[in-house]
Subunit: 379 residues, 2 copies
């Protein structure tokens, strides 16, 4: 196998290091002239050098932005190259067109490192589907927000202190919105659910709410009632109905998710025969992600990966029957909330069971009156 | 793929049900004349009917006893048939001879359902090894003992009550010793560690202590100090040194293992690049186990499984450097313990750091003086 690498950041360097000399995989080109390359490869500015070289069979795309990755990946697929990528937004927003192109060209498009850092998650989903039907995908899919929430619960830190500390550790992306507002979780949820359910979820139809407005007093209330807060992404697929939500969620202190500390991830699938299976580990980071990229390359090299199937019909999301109780804290008196309150906690109220659709729609509008409004689902 | 089934219990029936008609896998023989067969297959008493039929390429062996499974599996391998088995003691005690035979014959010998019920554990280990080095395998490997321990912690049940309840639920095997004394965990540890480290562990060299002597008052002490007890099987492989122990272990209440409730399992591997990865789910049960058997069959049918590599050198276990603090409760005054006590808890003492080798050896002898002696490692 001869590969070209687009963008040689820390992950790309780790991949090349792990491939070493004995894997039978040779890096021929690096398309990133800004960075010194410490192994024998042709450094180029021209994508054409890779796509027009018949010796190159696979291209690694390791950036984190949609452009120019989209155009580059399209060119590589059109040139008949397999593509292995870590680019979450690229696949979340252009799933169907890229998968359809790879299918037409009869080449592989792999993304194990994008969806789950170092976890054996995407191959486990694909393997499961051979013999079983997956109905639910959920989990703590973003390490930064989990680090922040865990620090708020265990070290009683404020949101801002915990966020700063996560940036000191290098967990948080430079653009914290991607982590804190739930976008990174959204991308991973879409990659996982598209794989598990054979669907193509339109990202804009998923309800997404992050943890930016959580306060120390919320956390104290949760602990006093035996709960802790995690940012959980969930998708369910039963009888053609597809629900997909990313939102702060209260789990009992004895629950599995409550025992996920620091920047770890916990990814869960529920299938008909095998039941509930969870995968716990590093969902991001240089070496874990490089590890899954190498696994994808080895799969392609060994002929164990296959081109995607025919394109899927875009499946619309319906969160009207995704029903939970909610914790809601707002400083404003909200008539909508009066009739839906079931219990009062120190800092907020617990509602009756409401659909995610209804709560997110109300909150989007109520936030105009109280920008600090915070809510979390109760599981 | 055409298969023969040896022993048609509930798992075998579930496998046949899951294979259905569209998997391309046909069950031609069932070697279990005592049980009615509800699908078109030849029922026979003669193993020869399977081994001598050139159409049969794979045999399912689903019993739980070493004999006559050993002789049957040998005959099948000698006849050039692939074998998929759920038989834990068979593989734990005859690993090298069966793997060597399968290697010589160029056929597959698969055991995904034996090691981990419905969890994607063995394939994840095999996949990990392609790109990484695994150093540690550990976990809660037996659902029955976890059910008992969890009931003692959460419902304050006595050992006997919890054991009886687990039998009512059908979790405990008829022979409770296999679960309660840690033998089932031993078998799974050996299957997992042999796969992960490319070794062949002699079962009799592993230190094994179960949970039979744990009392309600021990559990209350643990909870008061922020711990809970789990039966944990561990193996470590660093620089040719191999440690392997099954013993009650105290984990902090905020730890991942403490959040494993009821009869669930949590299997963990630590590798150099991907770090720590845990797999949580049903480690036993009719449908989860059948699910992994079907996965093994699909791997063999798709040519994705390979015959085992050349036989491994038997690797001796050395637990002298596997060092922990220990909780020890005994009613007898033990001079050995005086000099090693670091702290006193309500019902027992906490020792200084000691090797598993030393503690298990002392306890084996001290149990003559106090049959109710209980100990647990502190992690």
């Amino acid at each position: 196998m001869v590969i070209g690498v687009l963008g040689l950041g820390p992950i790309g360097e780790s991949v090349c290091e792990m491939l070493g000399s004995k894997s039978g995989i040779r890096v021929k080109y690096v398309c990133c002239p800004e960075r010194p390359v410490r192994f024998p490869a042709t450094v180029t500015r021209e994508l054409r050098d890779l796509t027009e070289d018949p010796e190159v069979d696979t291209v690694l795309e390791l950036s984190a932005e949609i452009h120019p990755a989209l155009e580059q990946v399209q060119q590589c697929l059109l040139a008949g190259k397999h593509v292995v990528t870590c680019n979450k937004p690229l696949l979340a927003f252009h799933w169907n067109e890229l998968m359809a192109l790879a299918a037409r060209q009869g080449v592989c498009l792999r993304y194990g490192g994008a969806a789950a850092g170092g976890l054996a998650w995407i191959p486990a989903i694909e393997r499961c589907k051979r013999a079983d039907t997956i109905h639910e995908i959920s989990g703590i899919m973003n390490g930064t927000t989990n680090y922040i929430l865990d620090a708020m619960h265990l070290a009683h830190a404020s949101f801002q202190t915990a966020l700063n500390r996560s940036q000191d550790f290098g967990y948080a992306e430079i653009d914290t919105a991607s982590d804190v507002d739930g976008l990174d979780s959204l991308h991973r949820l879409i990659l996982s659910a598209n794989t598990a359910f054979d669907v193509s979820i339109p990202p804009e139809e998923v309800l997404v709410r992050g943890i930016r407005c959580i306060q120390r007093r919320d956390v104290e209330t949760f602990l006093a009632h035996g709960f802790c807060c995690r940012l959980i992404a969930s998708a369910e697929h039963y009888a053609e109905r597809l629900a997909a939500v990313v939102e702060p969620t209260l789990v009992e202190l004895k629950d599995h998710e409550a025992a996920v500390h620091s920047n770890f991830n916990l990814l869960t699938m529920v299938s008909r025969q095998a039941g509930k299976q969870s995968f716990f580990g590093q969902g991001a980071g240089r070496y874990p992600t490089a590890y899954n990229v190498v696994q994808d390359l080895l799969d392609v090299a060994a002929g164990r990966a296959e081109p995607p199937g025919p394109p899927r019909i875009e499946t619309h999301v319906d969160n009207r029957t995704f029903v939970r109780k909610y914790y809601i804290r707002t400083a404003v008196s909200e008539p909508w909330l009066w009739s839906r309150t079931e219990e009062r906690w120190e800092t907020g109220v617990i509602t009756c069971r409401l659909s995610a659709q209804e709560v997110h729609a109300w909150a989007a509008e109520a936030r105009g009156r109280d920008p600090e409004l915070f809510f979390a689902a109760l599981r």
